[in-house]
């Protein structure tokens, strides 16, 4: 049995990164994430020296007590204005990357991204409703309306798409994809209808455009904490599903023959994936490309085993989005580019270079 006794020979050991044991790889990526977060917190429209920022951040962790040699406003800017955005970007990037891995594993399609089965249009519809509703959140209240409605819209849409595609106890993948496409079209039409009929038309359209272009829209730590809890719980569930995803890679029939409850796990993957996507989209609008590119990049570097792919994609997605958000804020300061534009401009060439330079044929 050639496959069972296959030992890696010298040529394969030159595969470099793949040979590193998993804990070291994860540690390296985590350190890289921390460095990138520090870098992102040090850039903004108000120049604050890097040393000051490092001292402010270390003071904030409670382990250090540097004497304050900086203005109080610098501390407010770093902790209350910049850090929520940076941590929010990291969480959104991680959530989208993990959701991308989940959907690509379940649908067995390299073009699958987290928005495929309707979460993007559902969230956009929720946001459009939030922008045109007359009752607003009360000044200074805890829960702003837009993220909640965007989250609800995304989750409800995905559940609706799943229930439409379910025929006789089974959900064929092709039906799921087609139902998602149809749902996207219908919801975009609803969204246009609502904006046309609403009396707040002018502000609604501008606000919705800003929201759709993508950008981390957090204004306080409370939003980041709530979304962070949902995303971390979702990523934990995703990690527990890693062997299921590996089995899915063999094909649904083979997985069923191995004794796996295919339909049950499909529903579970859809729920976890859409929960991650909805939580990410509720604070960031529609940022494309992260969920599509990051799993592919990690798969090209590290191989398709999901047990390693899921955590490294999460860290890779977080790093990617924090960097993209940083560049979006800095490149034409003080104007801010939409982050979605940046993820596409930065992600696409990088992915192409990786794909072309890899001598090995791209294996799914």
């Amino acid at each position: 049995m050639k496959i069972a006794t296959h030992k890696p020979d010298l040529k394969e050991l030159r595969g470099g990164v793949r040979v590193l044991p998993a804990p070291i790889l994860l540690l390296a990526l985590s350190c890289l994430l921390l460095i990138v977060i520090l870098l992102a917190a040090s850039f903004g429209s108000v120049p604050i020296p890097l040393g000051t920022i490092m001292q402010i951040l270390m003071n904030g962790t409670g382990l250090f007590h540097f004497a304050r040699q900086w203005d109080l406003t610098a501390e407010i800017i770093v902790w209350q204005v910049r850090m929520p955005v940076v941590i929010g970007a990291a969480l959104v990037g991680a959530a989208l990357a993990v959701a991308g891995v989940l959907f690509q594993g379940m649908l067995r399609n390299p073009l699958a991204d987290p928005y495929l089965i309707g979460s993007s249009s559902g969230a956009a519809l929720g946001a459009a409703i939030a922008f045109v509703l007359p009752f607003d959140v009360v000044f200074g209240s805890f829960f702003p309306l837009t993220p909640i409605l965007a989250f609800a819209g995304a989750m409800l849409t995905v559940m609706l798409v799943y229930s439409i595609a379910r025929v006789g106890g089974q959900t064929p993948v092709v039906t799921l994809l087609l139902a998602g496409v149809v749902m996207n079209a219908v919801l975009v039409a609803f969204q246009t209808l609502i904006l046309t009929l609403s009396p707040h038309a002018q502000f609604g359209v501008q606000a919705l455009f800003n929201w759709l272009s993508g950008g981390i829209a957090v204004t306080s730590w409370s939003q980041v904490v709530i979304v962070g809890i949902i995303i971390l719980v979702g990523m934990l569930f995703a990690l527990m599903l890693s062997t299921v995803l590996d089995a899915f890679g063999l094909g649904e029939e083979s997985a069923a023959h191995l004794g796996m409850h295919v339909e049950r796990y499909k529903l579970l993957i859809i729920i976890v994936g859409s929960m991650l996507t909805a939580a990410a989209v509720s604070i960031s609008g529609l940022i494309g490309f992260v969920g599509l590119v990051t799993p592919h990049v990690m798969r090209l570097i590290l191989g398709p085993r999901h047990r390693l792919l899921l955590p490294t994609s999460a860290l890779g997605g977080a790093i990617f989005l924090v960097l993209a958000d940083l560049l979006a804020r800095v490149v034409i300061a003080p104007a801010v580019l939409p982050v979605g534009v940046f993820t596409a401009l930065v992600g696409a060439p990088f992915f192409l270079i990786l794909l072309r330079s890899n001598k090995r044929e791209y294996r799914w």
Binding site: G44, S45, V46, T73, I76, I77, Q80, V81, R82, I129, V132, L133, P134, D136, V137, V138, F139, G140, S141, P144, L156, M159, L160, S163, I164, R166, V167, G168, G169, F190, I194, L197, S198, P199, H200, A201, Q202, F203, Q206, A207, N210, A217, T219, S220, P334, A335, V336
Partner: protein
């Protein structure tokens, strides 16, 4: 074949959701218009902000004021507070001595919270919930934010008094407001008893055949009424005061005056109106009564609304206002 239990429930949920959405859209138009009149009728002075909470007036004169909207900047300029303003928004363009100050927003309407914090303001002024996404955040960062309510012309004059009270310039403000009020009364007296012509104020013609106009609830509508004219779209209150209408509606109501408000670079060209297809039968074009007024003096809730009223009255009742039209009527700032 088994019936789909899950899908029918979700289908019902979707239908219910859809009905709720439509009802919300239908009712939202009414609720918006009633809120402002109740604020106006209750007290003669503005004491509640745009969210209905009482305004907290500062105990000492603010020295570092940031204005987040262009009409508040105009009010601050009219009250002579240029020396105490430290930040303005991107769209502030009048008065000229404020335009060189640091801008805290960009062309897309995104406000730079970091920069506002770094300017260390002791008073941040906004208007009509234009910056509602940012008000709570700025308040939580320790700034004194006042978001004044939106309303009609008389409420705008009251708000100038409120800004005066917020900035400790009450005497200047009451002088300014009484002067503006006497100008308004003067115009109304002069046009009393004249026949009211039909007027169209257009906001945008980018989509040929479907222009945006000033409808009921906009300042243009109110100024037309004060100048003794008839706004042909007075009954159309959709679109928040700026509904999109069709060419047919304009041609069938046949206004005697067409007033453009667009910037000359973006469609505000009077000569181009004469070339519009199907518009040749409109009285305004036959009598060559197509004009352009600076949109900032008939759209911005500030002291220059009175200038807009005077320009409009002079255009539609030229016999009562001899002399040439002043240059500020057709300006672009």
């Amino acid at each position: 074949m088994r019936s789909r239990v899950i899908s029918s429930r979700f289908f019902l949920l979707l239908v219910f959701f859809f009905l709720v959405m439509l009802t919300a859209c239908g009712q939202s138009g009414n609720s918006q218009s009633t809120s402002t009149t109740s604020t106006q009728a209750a007290t003669p002075v503005v004491t509640l902000d745009a969210y209905g909470t009482p305004i907290v007036f500062p105990t000492s004169a603010p020295q570092r004021i940031v204005s987040l909207v262009p009409n508040i900047s105009e009010m601050l300029g009219a009250l002579g507070l240029q020396g105490r303003v430290v930040g303005i928004d991107y769209y502030t363009n009048y008065p000229a001595n404020l335009t060189s100050l640091p801008k805290v927003s960009d062309v897309n309407g995104k406000y730079n919270v970091e920069q506002i914090v770094a300017l260390k303001p002791d008073l941040v002024l906004s208007y009509g919930k234009d910056t509602k996404q940012y008000d709570a955040q700025l308040q939580n960062l320790g700034m004194h934010v006042v978001d004044l309510p939106s309303g009609d012309l008389s409420l705008t004059l009251q708000e100038i008094l409120a800004v005066g009270r917020l900035t400790f310039t009450t005497q200047t403000a009451s002088n300014l407001v009484s002067q503006l009020q006497s100008q308004i009364n003067d115009v109304k007296a002069k046009v009393a008893g004249t026949t009211a012509p039909k007027v169209l104020i257009e906001s945008d013609y980018s989509t040929p055949g479907k222009p945006y106009v000033n409808g009921g609830g906009s300042f243009g509508d109110e100024l037309i009424q004060d100048a003794n004219g008839i706004n042909i779209f007075h009954d159309n209150t959709t679109g928040g005061g700026f509904p999109q209408v069709t060419d047919e509606a304009i041609i069938s109501t046949n206004p005697q005056y067409v007033i453009l408000t667009e910037d000359p670079a973006y469609g505000g060209d009077v000569n181009a109106v004469y070339k519009r297809s199907n518009w040749g039968s409109i009285d305004a074009l036959k009598l060559h009564q197509v004009y352009r007024i600076n949109s900032n003096i008939i759209g911005r809730p500030g002291p220059r609304l009175v200038q807009g009223l005077e320009c409009l009255a002079q255009i539609i009742h030229p016999d009562k206002f001899p002399g040439t039209l002043p240059a500020y009527c057709t300006g672009t700032v």
